[in-house]
Symmetry: C2
């Protein structure tokens, strides 16, 4: 490592992050670690997870320098950590926040990669809130920090880079390249903490933006959570048929793409659906109203109405494809 680092010294200064703790060393957490390492933006990555075999893969793949299973005393690693990323299924985040709160160092910034944000923020307020020690006076980051117990180093985030694959073996240092990463800071999040998280994602190749948490949850209920639920539902109801194999036998590439999301991790998506249930149910209701309209067009054999519906969809999707970075692999 010494020689390449020396050669790139002009372009890449000393790692901006000393120690990063990644809890949940799967597709997202593992890719975050790999990308930071590829950018020489971190000195040490500590991985924490539930499965010893996945953690072993993570070490072998160069994702983590050392690892701990969640039942070990891994929170001792937090005292001198610059950043901790919670990249577990989102349902585990409240308990993790409660667990880490008393162990955080004076300059440790906390972020997450959950697909829902209001529930994570509520948990952050509950468990970190006043418990978070203020930045230590005299610490390099403390200069412009807002004072008061509410000043938080909690920066909720959501990288738009999931795939249906999971586990450390699916991780890639290129996963976030040119991908949108959304931060939904709290009112009390310090600018310094937010910058540290934004810089880390930028180093990973991401394009960082911010969004209000409630709006985030509304939007992702529509463009991500609902499509996942719809894909799971389609395959589940086919699979439940006595003659399911007759159907699957003739399913082809259209079915494959429509149902790709149904190969996603069930535990992750249970947590997302429950964490954002209100917005998801609202979207499900809007969608069912659209299916009512579609069914009415079929009943009345309204060809012009079907063409209009399909054309509106096609025009909108093609315009989106042409103009949006995140549409493309």
């Amino acid at each position: 490592m010494a020689t390449p680092n020396a050669v790139k010294a002009d372009a890449v200064p000393a790692p901006s992050l000393g120690k990063v703790v990644v809890v949940g060393v799967g597709l997202i957490g593992g890719s975050f670690a790999l990308a930071l390492k590829a950018a020489a933006a971190v000195a040490t990555v500590v991985g924490v997870g539930r499965s010893a075999s996945n953690l072993s893969s993570a070490r072998q793949l160069g994702i983590a320098d050392r690892t701990w299973t969640q039942d070990q005393r891994w929170t001792d690693e937090l005292i001198d950590a610059d950043l901790v990323l919670l990249a577990t299924p989102v349902g585990q985040i409240p308990a993790l926040l409660a667990l880490i709160a008393p162990a955080l160092g004076a300059a440790t910034v906390v972020t997450d990669a959950g697909s829902t944000k209001q529930d994570v923020i509520a948990a952050g307020r509950r468990h970190l809130g006043a418990a978070l020690p203020r930045f230590v006076p005299g610490h390099p980051l403390a200069g412009t920090e807002r004072s008061g117990a509410a000043a938080a180093r909690f920066v909720p985030g959501h990288p738009l880079a999931g795939t249906e694959r999971s586990g450390a073996a699916a991780a890639s240092d290129a996963l976030f390249r040119d991908r949108t990463v959304i931060l939904t800071p709290l009112a009390e999040t310090s600018a310094e903490a937010q910058k540290r998280v934004a810089d880390a994602w930028t180093a990973c190749g991401g394009v960082v933006g911010t969004l209000e948490a409630a709006r985030h949850d509304e939007i992702f209920a529509a463009v991500s959570h609902l499509p996942h639920a719809l894909a799971f539902a389609l395959v589940a109801q086919l699979a439940a048929r006595a003659d399911a194999l007759d159907y699957f036998r003739y399913a082809a590439t259209g079915f494959r793409d429509f149902t790709r999301l149904a190969s996603s991790d069930p535990e992750m998506w249970r947590d997302v659906c429950l964490g954002n249930a209100t917005a998801l149910r609202r979207e499900l209701s809007a969608y069912r109203a659209e299916l009512d309209r579609l069914d009415a067009l079929l009943v009345s054999a309204d060809g012009d109405g079907l063409i209009a519906l399909f054309e509106r969809a096609r025009v909108a999707r093609n315009a989106w494809l042409a103009h949006h970075r995140d549409a493309n692999d």
Copy 2:
């Protein structure tokens, strides 16, 4: 052409088809022509279509040796044609069958590539039925032909190889390679006519099977027509919102794959949805019942129920992916 044909004489005998007429020179019709030519399985391809500019592309791309627009006297081409493929949107097939019936040659076999089969067969019975001249006695194909006016050279078909692209420019001689092609012969379809169509698709690289037409329509309502309708509906209801751009801005690869079918040709899918409306509405109803169950799980925050639903879907989809040829590009 003479030299390559001579060199490959052992592998590829003289083209088995003299003249093939393709009506609708788009993705499917164009790819059929290109694949037959690549296999040296046809001497002459005549293309028929609505758009002069698309036909011009078809000639330039080597899809058709000559072309006619549908308003010209193209049916004169049928008298000495070995095969005519109707590859238009399926709603045009009844009128086309009525148009070609009196112009067919004594040995012309008729097939189609429509995604619905019972409606095509009903139109075939109506327009071809007794109107179809019997195979000419003494014609090479006549040897084992069943006798009677109902003996038909109509072989309905459905290649499982659509994409969301359309037009001659999207055609490829590899589109059908290793793809399932379903034939749904009528009881009165002659074995010789069926073999001619099966051989043509085999020459294109397809893997030919047969299915009863009603079963075909049930199965494809579930694995193809419903997913198309659902994808169109999702994008259409998003696009209709005043703040649609806020949503599309954050849509990513999951949304892209889920909605790929919504970029399909609206006219083609109007025809499919109307042509198979009964089976499609039955599938839509079954799907809405599954969405009821999903919503009930959300209301009761039943995490175990959600996991069970998602896991059933994931296991079924992954088993399908692992075992089915048509799952892969």
